[in-house]
């Protein structure tokens, strides 16, 4: 990178130096082109930082309104008092203006699959998710999603590992052991990076391949797997969902989609998918699916 370009863009030149630089810009097309590239590079950088700021802002709930909390507590207390008053009225069936008392219900009907996660208290700030593509708040009108676990990035390196992160960690199982000749030679370098767990490097290579080569099932599978290992559950799902039903990697795809839903906090989908895998006695990831079912349920 040209130091003088940096100085010029940062406004660090004296008026004389600036005038001299601008004369050079007119007489040296190469320098002018480099200046434009540098400006464009910084613009792309700024845009990405803005993208991440939006994601963080939406992932971070606003400060709670203390009066709202007090009003909620008061409402709940009023409800309990009313319920206690209602159930305390005893009626006798022998007298026409009385009726039998139903005992208060002590057990709740639990669904076959529990859909609720331990919900954080409304006031607890959620860990902002770094990275450009992490959604935060629910879209207005859609039922609030389950809380998204942890942060994106390499697993285990987040400084604020939640209970959900630990749960995901405990059932996490991936295998990247493709047989020789599993795919076109074009993907061999990326496959090596994935085997070596160099997911960031692999991601960058996959980005390039996506730009240079036509899209293919192999590319979608590899990119989905790479994003999964980078803990980008939502992004991984987008790629896996483009794979056809009869894809070569259908068993891996089914299991990795399960993990991606788990990463996204979508317990219901993760459990349903795991159970479908478990029902197949020959599935490669049957025992992993069983572990997930036992742990999550």
């Amino acid at each position: 990178m040209h130091t003088d370009i940096e100085q010029y863009l940062n406004g660090e030149m004296t008026p004389e130096e600036q005038a001299e630089f601008e004369r050079r810009l007119e007489s040296e097309p190469g320098l002018a082109a480099d200046l434009e590239k540098h400006k464009a590079f910084l613009e792309r950088l700024r845009t990405q930082m803005l993208r991440e700021k939006i994601a963080h802002t939406l992932a971070d709930p606003p400060a709670p309104n203390p009066w709202k909390k007090r009003a909620s507590i008061a409402g709940v207390l009023l409800l309990l008092i009313t319920a206690a008053f209602w159930f305390s009225r005893k009626k006798d069936p022998a007298h026409p203006d009385t009726f039998p008392v139903k005992p208060p219900t002590e057990t709740r009907q639990t669904p076959a699959y529990s859909d609720s996660l331990p919900q954080p208290a409304e006031e607890e700030p959620q860990t902002p998710a770094p990275g450009g593509n992490k959604p935060g708040r629910p879209i207005a009108g859609i039922p609030a999603p389950q809380p998204k676990p942890g942060t994106s990035g390499v697993r285990g390196q987040s400084p604020q590992t939640s209970d959900w992160d630990r749960l995901v960690e405990s059932v996490w199982a991936t295998r990247f052991d493709p047989p020789p000749g599993a795919w076109n030679q074009r993907y061999a370098p990326v496959a090596e990076l994935l085997k070596a767990k160099q997911f960031t490097d692999a991601y960058v290579q996959l980005q390039l391949l996506e730009q240079l080569a036509p899209s293919s099932d192999t590319l979608f599978f590899l990119k989905g797997y790479c994003l999964l290992e980078l803990r980008e559950g939502a992004a991984a799902l987008r790629y896996f969902e483009q794979l056809p039903e009869g894809t070569t990697w259908r068993e891996e795809t089914a299991w990795y989609k399960t993990l991606a839903w788990l990463l996204n906090g979508d317990r219901t989908k993760a459990l349903t998918s795991a159970k479908n895998i478990y029902l197949n006695p020959n599935h490669r990831f049957r025992s992993e699916a069983k572990t997930l079912i036992d742990t999550v349920e």
Binding site: M1, A40, T47, Q48, G131, A140
Partner: protein
């Protein structure tokens, strides 16, 4: 319509617009809430997964804020929510077209005539890669670059406010220059060229 909306913090349009221009978190959240509620009105939105809908919303927010910054979208033009919805509609049409799904005629979308969704998504992929590579340089590098090129703080202010471990302007500049060189080297190593940033 929205189950999750809060009362607006900026009932006045001008203050809302100005708060968005300065990237105030409350304003971004308000725009997100109001836009989220209108996304359901977009034709074909139901064809997207939940994750894609959220990504679409975030993309629309980003483009709206960038246009405000560039001056392409000014206060006397449209309500920010309407503008963001127009952006979302255009991006959605592009997505659906790519998936060979039925799209809606976009005639009349003058508000965002200069938005090229294809270009936006190509640039987004490059920007995302850039973000990932920047993170691999470590928190210090990310911070010194962010403070200068995103927060647009003067080096003198950064040093005085002790926002970094660097106690002099020269050491801060030197570190930033080092980080940019490393980033450029990383980009070259990974096969990116600066030409990609001109697309």
């Amino acid at each position: 319509m929205s189950k999750n909306s809060r009362p607006p913090s900026f009932p006045d349009k001008r203050s809302f617009f100005e708060a968005l221009k300065s990237l105030a978190p409350e304003a971004i959240r308000q725009l997100s809430d109001q836009l989220g509620g209108t996304l359901y009105l977009l034709p074909g939105i139901y064809l997207l997964s939940r994750e894609d809908m959220e990504e679409l919303r975030n993309d629309a927010l980003l483009v709206t804020l960038k246009k405000m910054e560039e001056g392409a979208f000014q206060f006397q033009d449209y309500n920010p929510v309407s503008y963001a919805q127009a952006v979302a509609r255009k991006l959605l049409a592009n997505r659906l077209r790519k998936r060979k799904l039925e799209t809606v005629d976009l005639e009349g979308q003058d508000a965002v005539a200069d938005l090229d969704p294809e270009q936006y998504y190509i640039q987004k992929e490059t920007e995302t890669s850039l973000g990932i590579l920047l993170k691999t340089l470590g928190e210090n590098c990310e911070q010194v670059i962010r403070l200068k090129y995103y927060d647009l703080l003067r080096d003198q202010d950064v040093v005085e406010q002790q926002r970094t471990p660097y106690t002099s302007v020269d050491s801060l500049k030197s570190k930033r220059s080092q980080c940019l060189k490393k980033l450029a080297a990383l980009l070259r190593e990974k096969g990116f060229s600066f030409l990609q940033f001109l697309k």
